[in-house]
Each structure stands twice: as structure tokens, then as C-alpha cells.
């Protein structure tokens, strides 16, 4: 069953059609990847799914009910969480605080004003648990602004994990990471996949990663859905190959 569905979803930026009548179904508790060259509209498509942008046409459904008009906040509360391609953390808070604020939201501790946050030890424990997963434990007390780029990417993922949503939308989580850091992130994604209780949607360029993990792959090209299928089907798809200029989509790294 599809947990997330779009029907003829489109958005236009002053004449430029960034996403063009895309209709897809994201199967529940499966691993779906979205690929496509830079500028294909992948991030914009995520922005539509998570409510950062409102579509100029079409509709979005979550578990069968329409969510097209809902805000980003409402969609997160419903269970659609996302990470950002351009790192989007809180620079003047510590790494731990960044994650804790996300944990706090998930736990619905929103308006408590009188108790010191240290009283909420279970949130701290959960935040530390997540930091350990992404290998940031020793950076917990550092200001997020002072992290290296790859570490900020990890924090971005940690914040998504902390939200503990049914759907995880990951926008190029390993982009700009050093090669040594990538396996750790792949391990985290695999672990979530193996729990089989989450729906993962991943935007990536690293084809080996996609071939290895995806149940289904969607290809966006000039804002349109060019193809969908199993990883094997996509590799063999001629339209996809010509879109990537003769199958040159191994080793795309941007």
C-alpha cells in the first residue's frame, strides 16, 4: 500500500516548471530512491512533500487523505520527517541541544516552561543514543557552527532520526562527506531499513548505494518522472541511460 502519493504534482517558478505533473506512489515500509541529474527537481519535489513549498498544481496524499494544504509543521507531526540537502541546523546551539529539541518535539514536550530541561533526563538519554549512532558523541557539547561540514551532515541526519517519524525523507545525506564518513551513514540507513517499520525515501547520486539498498527507484529528469522500477530495471532502462548521456551515472558525486 502506498503511504505517500502524489497526483499530477507540479510547481512553477516564474515560468520555469521545476516539477511537472509528477504522479508517484511511495510504498509503505519500503526503501525508495529518487535519482536524477542536478537541477532535475528532486529537492523541489521533497519541498512539496514536506510542505516547505506549496504546489501550483496537483495534490498529495498521506495514508489516503489529502495533505496538500497542510503546513510543514502539521506534516511533521503527522509523521513525515525530512533532512535537508543544504545543512539546516541551529548554529549557536550545541550539537546535543540541536538533537534534543527534535527529541522534545517528538515527545510532544512543547510548552513546558517551568522545569529545567535537565529534569527531562530521558530526552537527554535519547539524544545521546542518537548521537552515538551517527558518531557525534564526542562533539555533543560543541556549538553546531563549529562542526566540520561532514559532521554537520551527520547532525542533520541525527535530527531527522530524533523526530522518529514514519516516513524519512533524506536529501543527499552523504553529499560533501569525506569518503571515510560515508559508510557510517550507510550503516545507519541499513539499520533503519532492517527494522522494516519505516518508509525511507532517499535522494542520492551514489549509484552503488542506491543499487544496494533500494526496493524501488524513481528517476526525475527536467522536473518530470522519467522512469520507475527496481534498481535493475532502472539501470537497463534506455531512456534513463540516454538522460545520463550513455549510462554515465556511476560515480556521479555531486
Amino acid at each position: 500500500m502506498a503511504i505517500l502519493e502524489t497526483n499530477e504534482l507540479s510547481i512553477t517558478f516564474g515560468g520555469h516548471v521545476a516539477v511537472n505533473t509528477v504522479s508517484i506512489q511511495i510504498p509503505e515500509k519500503k526503501f525508495t530512491s529518487i535519482i536524477g541529474p542536478n537541477g532535475a527537481g528532486k529537492t523541489t519535489f521533497f519541498n512539496l512533500l514536506s510542505g516547505q513549498l506549496s504546489p501550483t498544481g496537483g495534490s498529495i496524499y498521506f495514508k489516503g487523505s489529502e495533505i496538500t494544504g497542510l503546513s510543514a509543521m502539521e506534516r511533521t507531526r503527522m509523521g513525515i520527517g525530512r533532512s535537508f540537502q543544504i545543512t539546516n541546523v541551529f548554529p549557536n546551539l550545541t550539537v546535543l541541544e540541536n538533537v534534543r529539541v527534535a527529541v522534545q518535539s517528538e515527545a510532544k514536550v512543547r510548552y513546558q516552561m517551568a522545569a529545567h530541561f535537565l529534569h527531562y533526563k530521558k530526552f537527554l538519554d535519547k539524544a545521546y543514543e542518537i548521537l552515538e549512532k551517527v558518531f557525534l558523541t564526542d562533539k555533543a557539547e560543541m556549538l553546531a557552527a563549529n562542526l566540520a561540514h561532514g559532521e554537520k551532515r551527520k547532525l542533520e541526519i541525527a535530527m531527522l532520526l530524533a523526530l522518529d517519524t514514519e516516513i524519512l525523507l533524506l536529501d543527499e545525506p552523504t553529499a560533501g562527506m569525506s569518503l571515510e564518513e560515508v559508510p557510517a551513514i550507510i550503516a545507519v540507513l541499513k539499520q533503519i531499513k532492517e527494522q522494516k517499520d519505516r518508509t525511507i525515501v532517499l535522494i542520492e547520486h551514489k549509484m552503488d548505494m542506491i543499487m544496494d539498498m533500494s526496493d524501488e527507484v524513481l528517476v526525475l529528469y527536467h522536473g518530470e518522472l522519467l522512469a520507475k522500477g527496481t534498481p535493475q530495471e532502472i539501470v537497463e532502462n534506455e531512456a534513463v541511460q540516454s538522460a545520463y548521456l550513455g549510462g554515465d551515472f556511476h560515480g556521479q558525486s555531486t
Binding site: 511533521t76 514536550v109 513546558q112 530541561f117 556549538l143 523526530l163
Partner: protein
Amino acid sequence: MRLGNIDKTTWIYLGIALALFIVPFILTGRSAQFIMIQIFIFAIFAMSYDLLLGYTGIISFGHVMFFGIGAYSTAIFMDRLDASIGALVLAVAVAVILAAIVSFIVGMLTLRLKSHFYAMLTLGLAGLFLVVAEKWRPLTGGFDGFTFRVPDLLSTSESLYTLSLISLILIFFGLRRFTNSPFGKVLMTIRENEERTESLGYNVLHYKVIASVVSGVVASFAGVLYMLSLRFVDTSVFATDITIDVLLMTIIGGVGTLVGPILGAGLVELAHHWLSGLSDVHWIFERWIILYGTVYILVVIFFPLGIVGTIRKKMAKRTAVQARSIKK
């Protein structure tokens, strides 16, 4: 709460607070005590301002209106009812409720919009309050204002000192709790990145409006204390100069901290006092605004984080260096 749970900085603050209670026995002069009282009052006011500016990232150009609401409530109740503690309690209640209502309405109207709307609407409303205070002569005495008596209990300089200091201490620790609560952390994430806070599932508008209300209420209480110390009210309690004063106090001391505005209030009030003493020497010392502009520019250039912010950053750097050298 067990004593063992209280952290070191809290003990330091408590120590300083206790020491301040002894000051009136040393500084026995009325004018010295008066300056200290002014510092305490403006420290409270500046903390309330920093809750908006430093913690939540909301700019207000009319914060003085809450101060003025507190001031006029007190003056009018003392004048019209009687100079009793009962009337004072009533004045505080009215001030707090009025400030809460006004800050709630202003917040609901503007905080969902871009940040300058809040700044402009508060500025406009403060101007409106000023005009009303000027025109509603029978109640306010208009431009000239009026003098009034305060409850006997608070008529000595020492008792007022004690009341202001106790208020400062309670509000400081209260706001410290507030900013360190789960709620307070969300205010900081709003300051850092509003959209991201929303996408984590927080209703940003609710947080901003609540911050606006808490800030307005605290500011109105500062206005109440101010009246008890002056025993005279005129329309200057709604003047934009006062907003600029607290803005300066907050920025000099360090935005996003509570100790910063207290230090800033101390420095600015002392500078006021000292400079007005110099006005006999040269007319330029009467022109606050020139000096302010200069100080303001210098601070923004050399201490963009304010005093407390700069010290904190230095200390954070040092601990980071230490941590690194320990690892090696």
C-alpha cells in the same frame, strides 16, 4: 530541590545577590542608593527586552509602552485610591493584565508576519500611548504629570532598595528557569532558524506570542518599581529614549544572556549619572544621543556579542583548546 543539585554558577549568583543586600549599609547616601535602585529596575526591564531580542530574535522599537503601562497604573492607583499596599497590589495586577493583553494582541497581529512588523507596530502603539497620556489630562495630568505618595512601608530608600533587589533576584532566577526550560530552548531555535523550527513540528507563532507576553508583563513590573522610586509620573515614561536605553543596555551587556542586560543596565545608568554631572563642564555631555550613537557604534564594531557574550566565547575557546590538548 536538594541543595546538592544546585550548580556552581547558581551559587555564585546567589552569593552576589546576598552581597548586594549589604550595600545599603555601606552606601548610606540617598543618591547612591537611588542609582542602585535605578540599576535594579532597568536591569529587570532590560532582561525582559533581551527575552525578545536575544532569546527569540524579535526586535521591538516600542518596548517602553509596557514600562509606561506599569508606570501609569501605579501612579493613577496611588493617586486616586490611596497610598496603601492594597492599592499597590491592585495596581500591579492591573499593570500585568493590561500588559499581557496588549502584548498578546500585538503578537497575534504581527508575529506571523516578517519581523519588522512587530518592531513597527510596537513603535506606533508606544507613540499612541504617549499621545493618550498627553491628552487624557483629567487622569494623567497631561504633559506636566503629577506627583503622588507611595505606601509608608516603601517610603524609605532602604526599603525600596530591598524591594527592587528582591524583585530583580526573583525575576532573574525565574527567567533563567524559563530560558533553560524545554520551552526556552525552542525560543532559541526560533532565533536561529524559524523555518527549521517549524519543520521540527513546533508552532512558532505560539512560542513568539508567549515570549512577547512574558516580556511585556516583566517590563510592566519594572514600570511599577520605577514609579515607586520616582513618586512622580509624566509622559516621558512612554518616550522612545527609554526603549533605546534598554536596547543599548542589552547590546552592551550581551544579547542572549540574562547577566548581560543586568551589567548593561549598571553601566548605562552609571554613565548617565556620571555624564550628567559633567554637563556643567561642556554642553556636549547633555546630548545623550550623540554619545549613545558613538558608544553604540563602538560596541557593535568591537564587541558584537556584548560583554558577557565576548567573555563566554573566550571561555568556550579556552575549554575547547584544553580539551584538544588533553586528547593529545
